[in-house]
Amino acid sequence: MKGKIVVITSGKGGVGKTTATASIGSALALEGNRVLLVDMDIGLRNLDVVMGLENRIVFNIVDIVKGKCKIGQAAIKDRRIDNLFLIPASQSDNKDVITPEEMIRLAEKLREEFDFILMDCPAGIEKGFENAVVAADEAVVICAPEVSSIRDADRIIGLLFSKSITPKLVVNRIVPEMVERGDMLSHEDVVDVLSIDLIGLVEMDDQVVVSANMGTPPVLQKNSKAGGAFRRIAMRLNGNEDLPLVVPQVPNRFWKKLGRKIGLGK
């Protein structure tokens, strides 16, 4: 097996890297791939709680790199989805306990065991970013339609290009009503500014917070619009590149009003 390492990154914090890693990884596994999620946010681990696997942690990424355990001992197997594994970050170390050389060596081993290895990158452009990116074959940049997020994404994109990686873009946290009003940059605006290819559009979805509460990735949640969007991103990463983009739409007001009239919904 010769798997692919995909880093999920953003520059700015809190735009949805961990959410995306959990969702895209789960979706890839549901499609039959052998998938490993790696939390590279050393010191601020979160992927474990988003995945609902926090109670099963024994070893972490630093233990593996430092030879304290084998990959198989640290990788937690998900019980809901076949072929899905998580290597958690260490909570008590600094981001620089791991060196890029150690990551490259580890990556070689991981590629032998998994089809997809998703690296959940920490915010920022320092050592943690370096470690998450150094062995990556592909990159997905997550960006919210806001000035600061786009600016940071641009910086990250520049850094990725300098490492010969051509990243793909996910615009997350889209609010269609605001886009329609002209109070939020549309995905076209974002692409116009960043000039890289889109791989998905994800709208702001309350279900994401509900999923995080429950520790179930949004792709497992029925009727989650964000979950659907992440599933399509996974399909595109999995080789289905021509799958058309679905642009988040304002819910149809007519039906909503009618629904209200006849006493359905709020």
Binding site: E146, V147, R151, R155, V179, R181, S186
Partner: protein
């Protein structure tokens, strides 16, 4: 979207907030992407002064080098008072 088009047709209300955002972004990114350090700008300025000085006598202290927005583009703007033309020395 319709809303935006409508606003443009009747020309009321000026730019929407996202238009402002986009303009600001584009400008901010020009600086970011250039990624020029102060050192580079200083070196550039020194070299430019040297070249211009071959042709004109200029006030080196009155010289300014800037990156400015001009329309949709960003321009490198050099401003220097010329004191006099250099005499031909040949």
């Amino acid at each position: 979207m319709l809303n935006g088009i409508f606003r443009k047709i009747i020309g009321k209300g000026g730019d929407s907030s996202k238009d402002v955002a986009k303009k600001r972004l584009k400008f901010a990114l020009v600086y970011d992407r250039l990624d020029v350090s102060d050192d580079v700008l200083e070196d550039l300025q020194r070299d430019i002064v040297e070249v211009i000085s071959r042709y004109f006598e200029i006030d080196k202290d009155g010289l300014s080098l800037d990156i400015r927005e001009s329309g949709d583009l960003s321009a490198l703007v050099l401003n220097t008072p010329i004191l006099s033309k250099r005499r031909d020395t040949s």
